[in-house]
């Protein structure tokens, strides 16, 4: 009777582990595809030019293959949208979980989640026809297509993700901890900053990772609002291009497939993959370092 190993339990565990394994298969698939094609690419283009070149015009004659402009474009968008979505998202989550009444919260949260479902094309046009004119009236030298307004809409777009997930994380902190904080005569702000946020740190970080990953991979809105101009710049008021929008542009464009122009998208894909990986490893490190477990 003691030796009996529960078959059903074992079966469930195996099924669950297979589900987790799907993600590994996905990654393997992606890496295989990316590497197979970029291998061809790097036969023709030296990695030095690719990683350190400052001009990206694989489709122009003469061609140039320096990825830095795409990288800078991507980073501007990610940084800009983080600047919007993280503070606003976290503040919204705090408002929802701490200040808002149950009723308000039950209305606001779903409403915000609608923001996440609006097709990104729409955000692009919203940026172009609403945010850019405002920017241009404040800073007249802003270009019609600019990274700033793209970052802003991407920030708005991923804000619900931050807000909604952080709200859940904050709410799952046991009430006794919160009370412990208040019992020391602290204000709402101090309890939030000193007790709630540290206690739900891993959830908050997870929301940032998800949201910024989305910003990282965002395409349509950026293409429309920021143009498709690869340019090595840190000026958010200029037109730029991101890695993803380059990939979409080429894969849905008129470029013939199979040539070196087309292989660029896989090389860019690899870089994108690598950069996300680095970002995630960093986030993971931060999370493990500062995670505080309760209970």
């Amino acid at each position: 009777m003691f030796r009996q190993i529960n078959l059903k339990e074992k079966g469930i565990e195996i099924f669950l582990s297979l589900s987790a394994f799907v993600s590994i298969l996905t990654t393997m698939g992606i890496i295989t595809i990316l590497f197979a094609e970029s291998f061809q690419f790097f036969k023709n283009v030296s990695p030095v030019e690719f990683f350190f070149g400052t001009q990206w015009e694989p489709l122009l004659v003469p061609k140039s293959f320096g990825i830095l402009p795409l990288l800078s474009g991507t980073l501007i968008i990610v940084a800009g949208s983080a600047l919007i979505s993280i503070p606003f998202g976290v503040l919204t989550a705090i408002y929802l979980s701490q200040f808002a009444s149950e009723k308000t919260r039950n209305i606001i949260k779903p409403v915000l989640e609608i923001l996440a479902g609006i097709p990104t094309v729409v955000y692009g046009f919203f940026a172009l026809s609403f945010i850019t004119p405002i920017l241009r009236s404040i800073l007249p030298f802003t270009e019609v297509f600019n990274a700033a307004s793209a970052s802003i809409v991407v920030g708005i777009m991923i804000l619900p993700m931050v807000a909604s997930l952080c709200d859940d994380a904050l709410r799952s902190v046991p009430r006794s901890l919160k009370e412990g904080g208040y019992a020391l005569g602290s204000t709402d702000f101090e309890v939030i900053k000193g007790v709630l946020i540290p206690s739900s740190f891993s959830g908050i970080m997870a929301s940032f990772i998800l949201a910024l990953s989305r910003a990282f991979g965002e395409t349509m809105a950026v293409t429309i609002a920021a143009g498709a101009t690869p340019k090595l710049t840190i000026n958010p008021l200029e037109s730029i291009q991101t890695m993803t929008s380059y990939i979409v542009q080429v894969s849905l464009g008129d470029t013939p497939q199979g040539g070196i122009e087309y292989q660029t998208i896989f090389a860019v894909g690899i870089v994108l993959f690598g950069v996300t990986l680095l970002m995630n490893i960093f986030a993971n490190w931060v999370m493990n370092r500062y995670r505080e477990v309760y209970e």
Binding site: Q55, L128, F145, A228, Q249, D254
Partner: protein, 297 residues
């Protein structure tokens, strides 16, 4: 006539089309009309770009490819590897339009040579008065479509003599509507894109007549159709797999396409081919003559 309807009612099957988003509106219009006559035939049209479309076409996944540029040698090679042939059929013209902002008061026309000077690789034109010295010394802002679009491909070929050869420091956007907004919002802008987008935005933009040696001509239905708007009108194509034509529904569809394209392309903002050319093309289709044809002409 009753015989025709009965055949229409019984004809069934699918016609798979993919390819350029530029050609899409025409193909869609044809499919819509065709569907009224042959309700049992399922016509599907995708938009994965000329290049993406050719990839699918060249492994036999589609019957017809919409293309905003002629097929390239690489693509022919790919298709040949899979024993897939093609009949190249021009279906309409798209006039590229060069436009400036409504507030641009100084520009009357541009010559082909001036355009070349502006757009050539390594161009030294940075201010308007670099083009003509009596124009204002204001920085010129250039707008153009994404470098992988058929429009860009054709423009560079026509103006700079070699496709994809171009200066790189202009503002690009994938979406022609977006370019419209760019030029409309920028007094010192100059840009180019498909004629249909100008036609819908005449109130926001000013068209630039082009002089190729025979006097400045603005793009219009007429000037594009009769070839006087030169060199910026380009043909757009469909590529048909002769193997698929063995299926009557595909055959009927292409036949219908060629018969109706003049009328339908105008309805969706493109310019129909001149009648003489249409005849040639229909003839070519009848004889199923495969291979690259237009660019040699």
């Amino acid at each position: 006539d009753s015989a025709k309807t009965s055949s229409a009612n019984t004809l069934s099957g699918t016609v798979k089309i993919d390819g350029s988003s530029t050609v899409f509106p025409i193909t869609e219009a044809v499919a819509e009309e065709f569907g009224k006559l042959y309700p049992k035939v399922r016509v599907t049209v995708g938009i994965s770009g000329t290049g993406g479309g050719f990839k699918k076409y060249s492994i036999g996944e589609t019957d017809i490819n919409d293309a905003s540029r002629p097929i390239k040698d690489k693509e022919i090679k790919k298709a040949n590897e899979n024993q897939i042939e093609f009949i190249e059929l021009p279906v309409a013209y798209d006039g590229l339009s060069v436009v400036v902002n409504k507030n641009n008061s100084w520009l009357d026309y541009l010559t082909v040579n001036e355009l070349h000077n502006i757009w050539k690789p390594g161009s030294q034109v940075h201010y308007w008065n670099d083009i003509r010295s009596n124009w204002p010394r204001k920085e010129i802002k250039l707008y153009g479509p994404g470098t992988d679009s058929g429009t860009f491909d054709y423009f560079t070929d026509a103006i700079n003599g070699k496709s994809q050869s171009c200066r790189s420091d202009f503002t690009k956007s994938e979406d022609d509507n977006v370019l419209v907004q760019g030029v409309a919002g920028d007094t010192y802008a100059l840009g180019f894109f498909g004629f249909a987008y100008y036609k819908e935005n005449t109130d926001k933009l000013k068209i630039v007549p082009i002089d190729d040696g025979n006097g400045p001509i603005s793009p219009s239905m007429e000037s594009i159709n009769n070839g006087t708007y030169s060199p910026l009108s380009r043909p757009i194509f469909i590529y048909v797999n002769p193997e698929s034509l063995k299926r009557p529904e595909v055959d009927k569809f292409v036949e219908f396409y060629l018969a109706e394209t003049y009328k339908l392309s105008e309805e969706v903002g493109y310019v129909g081919l001149p009648e003489s050319l249409t005849k040639d093309i229909q003839q070519k289709y009848k004889t199923r003559s495969t291979g690259k044809w237009y660019s040699q002409k």
